[in-house]
């Protein structure tokens, strides 16, 4: 079974995010970018499926600017076999919307014929949490979101989902889209010898036109603001005062 893993290049989770002066978005010029952490988990899961003999080939695909090639190389260095870059933007500040991404991925699925698509549950930059679900709708495939455990056998996958208040285990028919959550696994390091070998792995470059998809934005960003700074705390002199404040001011007890 071939496994397709979409990976997104996003602002590194360690970077202190700064809003652009004109409020049009987050400043990404000369900022460290990395693979979306949830996508790293998806790549890791695909590699584990391959190690178990369930997956035969792992194809990673990224949609965005040319530099997303670096993200693909990281996935190849982790253990993916082949990469596809769909160059859909020239400016690092252009974010391709989930529906366009899902349409492009549907095109890749038709071309590649994977038995499973493993995606991150969301990208940490815009937190849309929509691509996997939209892809499932476009393809008419089953979906299992927020996976914290995955077992594939034959034409079904058993997925434990992290839902509010607990875990839910479901079985879905293959082929399927599974979106992965934080606790599914701990991604491996791209090992040094594999980094050196990654260059020799194939990386194909495509454009949205190859799939007949229009990536023009449908949404418009009204404004982007920094989260409000934390206000200074107050000191209370007794437990009674603390309880009174929690009751009357905060209203939490």
């Amino acid at each position: 079974m071939k496994v397709l893993v979409p990976v997104k290049r996003v602002i590194d989770y360690n970077v202190k995010v700064r809003v652009k002066a004109d409020g049009s978005g987050v400043d990404l010029a000369n900022v460290k970018m990395s693979m979306n952490p949830f996508d790293e988990i998806a790549v890791e899961e695909a590699i584990r499926l391959k190690e178990k003999g369930i997956a035969t080939e792992i194809v990673v695909v990224s949609i965005g600017v040319k530099q997303a090639q670096e993200t693909l190389r990281t996935a190849l260095a982790m253990g993916a076999d082949r990469a596809i870059l769909i160059e859909a933007a020239a400016d690092v500040h252009t974010d391709i919307e989930p529906l366009a991404v899902a349409k492009l991925l549907a095109g890749v699925v038709k071309e590649e014929g994977p038995g499973l698509v493993l995606c991150g549950k969301q990208a940490i930059d815009n937190d849309m949490n929509a691509t996997g679900q939209m892809l499932s709708a476009l393809l008419g495939w089953s979906q299992a979101t927020f996976a914290s455990e995955l077992a594939v056998s034959g034409d079904a996958a058993t997925v434990t989902r992290e839902v509010d208040g607990g875990l839910q285990t479901i079985t879905v028919k293959m082929p399927a889209i599974v979106t992965v959550d934080l606790r599914l696994n701990e991604p491996r390091y791209a090992s040094l010898p594999n980094i050196m070998k990654a260059k020799a792995k194939p990386l194909a470059t495509k454009t949205p036109a190859d799939y007949g998809v229009d990536v023009a934005p449908r949404l418009s960003v009204v404004k982007t603001v920094e989260p409000a700074g934390r206000k200074a705390g107050v000191k209370v002199s007794s437990i009674e005062e603390l309880i009174a404040k929690l009751k009357d001011e905060a209203g939490v007890i």
Partner: protein, 387 residues
């Protein structure tokens, strides 16, 4: 000239950096405070380093290393160098390049086990009476039939307590040269447990806690000639051919610690408030930061340039000496200023600064003192005029 890093080099930095931050930093405090690196901890971290392909990554791919070019290797060294030395040197070992000079039989016995993490090596040149002037060594090797008999003392030998064998340089004869009589040197593999070979505890030292040094004693230690590394009397030739880049390795590890100290200093200067504002707003502090960043960059450029030339085959002794000299001195400067910027807090072992400052001290002494590096640099300049 090309100054950018390739995609592979960026990934090497990322993998090594996240390994160092996630797998080595959490154990630093223990090693610093106890001065000891537990064997079970070594084994645990070593296993992870192997999985990440970081262990012995300095080695060529044919023998199980990562097959890195010199700049990539040094980028890896720089990241490793940020952590406590004992931790990175032992748990993410880089076996000495000189092991590549061995015969296939010697490689089987020494090189491959080191790469597989089953053995550790150490290198013994220095003696109580012979430091910078290694040719003046007294420890000797005398041929006796097919065997060689070793006598004498080596000291300051790093991690010889942990090592399974030592590569020992011994005076094996003398020859007349235009510049007077010179000692001939031969290199030997000496296994722990060989009769007549003793490893004693060395001195306690201010730098690199947990990273020990030992005294080696040879008392009629008899070795078959198969233990000779390279050719008889050609010990320094082997060393020169295989150990040239260790100066760059020292430079790179120093750059890593300097970068770590500077990062602390910048953050502290931006956050610490005195007299109603961040101390970084005072020129007395901000100018320090500017100088630290500039010196670090200068040292880095010297090192990366030497690395690049190393692969082109155009590197000179002076290039490598300049890199080592500058990086070790810049580290000392940055560590000291970073502490100054932190005020009293810089001296406390809650932060890694006091140890980076202590650790900086040895770097100007080992692998050739700063004076010897200056000697090498100026010698090359003066030789052109026949001086």
């Amino acid at each position: 000239m090309q100054f950018g890093l390739t995609e592979e080099q960026q990934m090497i930095v990322e993998t090594t950096r996240s390994f160092v931050e996630n797998e080595l930093y959490p154990h630093e405090m223990e090693v610093e405070r106890t001065g000891h690196l537990r064997m079970d901890l070594i084994k645990q971290v070593q296993a992870k380093a192997m999985q990440a392909g970081l262990y012995a990554a300095n080695m060529p791919a044919e023998v199980g290393g990562a097959g890195l070019d010199t700049l990539s290797w040094l980028l890896y060294e720089k990241e490793l160098g940020k952590a406590n030395y004992a931790l990175h040197w032992t748990c993410v070992a880089r076996p000495s390049n000189i092991l590549l000079a061995g015969t296939e039989e010697q490689r089987q016995k020494y090189l491959y086990p080191c790469i597989r993490g089953e053995k550790w090596d150490c290198l013994a040149m220095t003696e109580p009476g012979a430091g910078s002037d290694l040719r003046g060594m007294k420890a000797s090797a005398r041929q006796d039939g097919d065997d060689w008999v070793l006598n004498g003392t080596k000291h300051f030998i790093s991690h010889a307590d942990l090592a399974d064998f030592a590569i020992c340089f011994m005076a094996s004869g003398e020859e007349d040269t235009p510049r007077g009589r010179k000692k001939l040197i031969t290199a030997f593999f000496v296994d722990k447990g060989t009769p007549g070979f003793t490893v004693r505890d060395g001195y306690r030292n201010v730098s690199h806690r947990g990273y020990t040094n030992a005294i080696l004693e040879f008392d009629n230690c008899r070795l078959p000639k198969s233990q000779i590394l390279g050719e008889v009397h050609k010990g320094f030739e082997v060393a020169n051919a295989w150990l040239g880049a260790t100066r760059l390795q020292v430079a790179a590890t120093c750059l890593g610690r300097a970068e770590r100290a500077l990062a602390h200093a910048v953050q502290y200067a931006a956050e610490r408030q005195q007299f109603g504002q961040a101390i970084g707003k005072f020129q007395g502090i901000s100018f320090k930061l500017a100088d630290m960043a500039m010196e670090l960059k200068a040292a880095e450029l010297l090192t990366w340039e030497a690395a690049w030339k190393f692969d082109q085959g155009t590197v000179t002794e002076a290039d490598m000496s300049m890199a080592k000299l500058k990086a070790t001195e810049v580290l000392a400067f940055i560590a000291d200023e970073a502490i100054q910027i932190h005020g009293g807090m810089g001296l406390m072992d809650d932060l890694p600064l006091e140890r980076i400052w202590r650790d900086a001290r040895v770097e100007r002494i080992w692998e050739g003192t700063s004076e010897i590096q200056r000697h090498i640099i100026s010698r090359q300049m003066l030789r052109a005029f026949g001086a």
